[in-house]
Symmetry: C3
Subunit: 344 residues, 3 copies
């Protein structure tokens, strides 16, 4: 980037520019780390104190913001409706390195029956098995394994070392991060006559709809029969486990290291923290919000509530219980005294 | 599959067939998802209501089952001794895609000292180091890394991107799922004179006996000295951590994201839920059953018991404690009143 | 190894040798597993009983150790100042297999702009992108992905299937274990106008200082802006999640499956157990010690303390609370009686 605050204000349709609009900005940085040639932004009121101390050359902020103290005059202040969005759209345009162009790097193995349009990127050591169908504008990075009969939609990126097992369907504009494993066999056994665990053959598939992200080293197991399904806009962080036949509703986001056991259904627009566990064969209603490390052991039928603790209960109830436990710990000597008196 | 209920009944040695035995069945599906050309099965009484509503063409069920309501007449009912087993044996025979045939795909690197029988599958980009010994009927998928001196027994499958580090021994009929890392260095340090952490060299190995499964992205560390050992029939789900010098007894099954710290010994026929943690240098007795998210911080010496909570205690005790905590939360205002009265 | 106790005593500068110094020792083993040709060591007083029963040919132990019972005479006892260090230095010298020598295996893809000194090991199927700069004495194992502009310092090992995304800087003498993913995009979104989650472009980097270990399948996300940083001597076990913009101070060690959410800062010399969760935007003071499975939901400002439980509190307080909970469970019937009496 090589832009002045003036040019930026014009580009993002700013309402107002206060300060020196003619300096040259070359970088993007947070309020705390920005220097005189950096553009920054302010949108989270918890960090208002950083605003008065920033060394940034220019800051994008809300046109509705009223500062508690005078803003420093060495900064160019650019006022817009949605500062975060404006800032990141500039980052996207001027700073994000472009994805690789179309073409095939050496040592890619592509089965002759696979459909691979010329407007795709196929990295070195990519493995594309029989009957794979890639749409246009797909990026397959080095070391990606694309199993037989896989379909991948337009605009989707499969990063290095991702494994997409046979029969998986992936929609448009998805991102599969490095090391993710999509479509490995689910964990299912039945008691055999001679052996305690006979494998249940896993012949179902994984279906991933549009705009989904699957984090690094996250695992999505194929269904036993039928489908494991991530619906539109699902966002999964790293190291998550999604068991066989799980269904996750549209625009649900799950933080790292959480796990969902087999056959559970998660609703739409849920927000699930890190290291959460959800047991098998459960239902979690739409817009549920689940705190990190919670353990959901029963279905959640009322939508829009918050859950916390293990076993999880409603946030208010769990916080009350935690507070009471702390209080009782404090009062324990007195309780003991009371009980002893009674005895005596 | 293209079979009639009659032919299926004969193939699985059914006791009885009720309904139209002459329709053509082409697929396998669960009771909830099956259509008129699908075969389904019923073995879990919790789902009996699905039986009366199923659209399946045919259903395998237990010869000992007595329905609570009349069974729908559009379904062909096939009665056998073990319905789940019968159903999955048909799935295995007619639906599971065959594994790749013997041969070597391009760009496999096989060290000249490695023993690789012709009756093996070596995928593209497989790496097989010096002195590796593969038995016959072994499948090494693309991108598998097989380190020096590794031995792999007959019938074992190593899926894409699995990493088998030097010196590991794997038995017969094992499955190593994608991205699993077997035999990386354990996490061991001692206090050095000049540095707080000096690496302890990890010269032990991992030994995996017959019929073991290692889940996707699961990590089994090599021993410091001696062995880390998974005994016969151990089943590990995805994203599990097994520390150095751990020993897991025969036919123990562990669900996803659990971790076992260094030098602990787990008995035979244990069932361990997801996200369980087991501390280091512990002993867990045979047939222990551990609930998801439990934290085992002391050895378990009595076999056959259930454990729950963190720190884990016997299930009954833990459930009682959880119930009392809920009750005390409710009663807290009254307890406070009582204490205040006494004071007054 | 093919050394006598006498030769060993001389090599490690032993103070004293008691017993037969002329036998030939060929292996290294723990006290419990050692045979007559093995060298072992004793440094942890919890295992003193193993000392009297060992079948080892020779044992290294502390010159300050006073046994409770007579030591068996068939063992050669070698007395030194630091037995563990002496033992492992011998293991390192005589038993650890050498790393591969310098050179390039077939099918490595190295971009012409990459700087790859001849004194490096580049395994088969390594992928080294544009502008990568490797120092001398670097080991890049098969299937490692080294993205654009990555720098790697002298003495560092990148094991098979590790993924180092673009722009990452790695210092000297680091070890990146198999399947680790360093520098994948952080998990960040903002509320869009038309969609609930718009991706925040992640243009920051990961910086790893000297002497750091990153465990197998562990994930370190790149920063949104600025850096995610592992400072000197940080040791991370397997399957750990480190979110974007996290900073971990020097010589902090973290056990397997722990997770640190975005923008948190962990101090120096902390010891963090397995499956610990640390929420986002927190500060954890130097020398904090956090018990396995704890959930840290508030900043820790006082250095040097121990923390336990979820939500985490100081170890003493948490242990007291756990003890009180057990006691109250026991006393519950009596408490109930008391409350009922009062009512009556």
């Amino acid at each position: 980037m090589n832009l002045t605050p003036k040019a930026i204000a014009q580009e993002i349709g700013a309402e107002k520019l206060v300060g020196n609009g003619d300096i040259i900005l070359t970088g993007f940085a947070s309020l705390a780390e920005a220097g005189p040639q950096d553009l920054s932004f302010f949108s989270d009121s918890r960090y208002e104190n950083l605003l008065y101390a920033t060394r940034a050359g220019a800051v994008i902020l809300s046109k509705d913001f009223t500062p508690k103290k005078p803003l420093p005059s060495h900064v160019a202040w650019i006022y817009v409706g949605r500062p975060e969005q404006a800032f990141y759209s500039l980052v996207q345009r001027y700073k994000v390195p472009p994805l690789p162009g179309w073409g095939r790097e050496p040592y890619a193995v592509i089965h002759p029956t696979a459909v691979v349009p010329s407007a795709t990127y196929i990295g070195a050591f990519a493995y594309i098995a029989q009957n794979v169908r890639l749409a246009e504008r797909v990026w397959i990075y080095p070391f990606a394994y694309i199993g037989a009969d896989v379909e991948i939609g337009e605009g989707t990126i499969v990063y290095p070392h991702a494994v997409i097992m046979a029969g998986t369907k992936i929609g448009r504009n998805c991102i599969i991060h490095p090391g993710a494993v999509v479509g490995a066999d689910g964990f299912g056994f039945y008691k055999g006559e001679s052996r305690p665990y006979e494998r249940i053959p896993q012949i179902g598939h994984v279906v991933i709809e549009d705009d989904v992200e699957v984090g690094a080293n996250t695992c999505i197991d194929r269904a036993t029969l039928g489908q494991t399904r991530l619906e539109q806009g699902v966002k999964l962080d790293n190291l998550i486990q999604v068991g066989h036949n799980v269904r996750i509703g549209p625009h649900t986001a799950i933080a790292a290291q959480s796990g969902i056991a087999g056959s559970s259904t998660i609703g739409a627009f849920c927000r699930i923290g890190g290291q959460v566990g959800i047991a098998d064969h459960l239902y979690v209603a739409d817009r549920s919000s689940i705190t990190a490390q919670a353990g959901v052991s029963k279905s959640i039928s009322t939508p829009g509530k918050g859950w916390r603790g293990a076993p999880a209960q409603e946030v208010r109830q769990q916080l009350l219980m935690e507070a009471v436990m702390r209080k009782l710990t404090e009062l324990y000597p007195k309780i003991l005294e009371l009980l002893n008196e009674k005895k005596a």
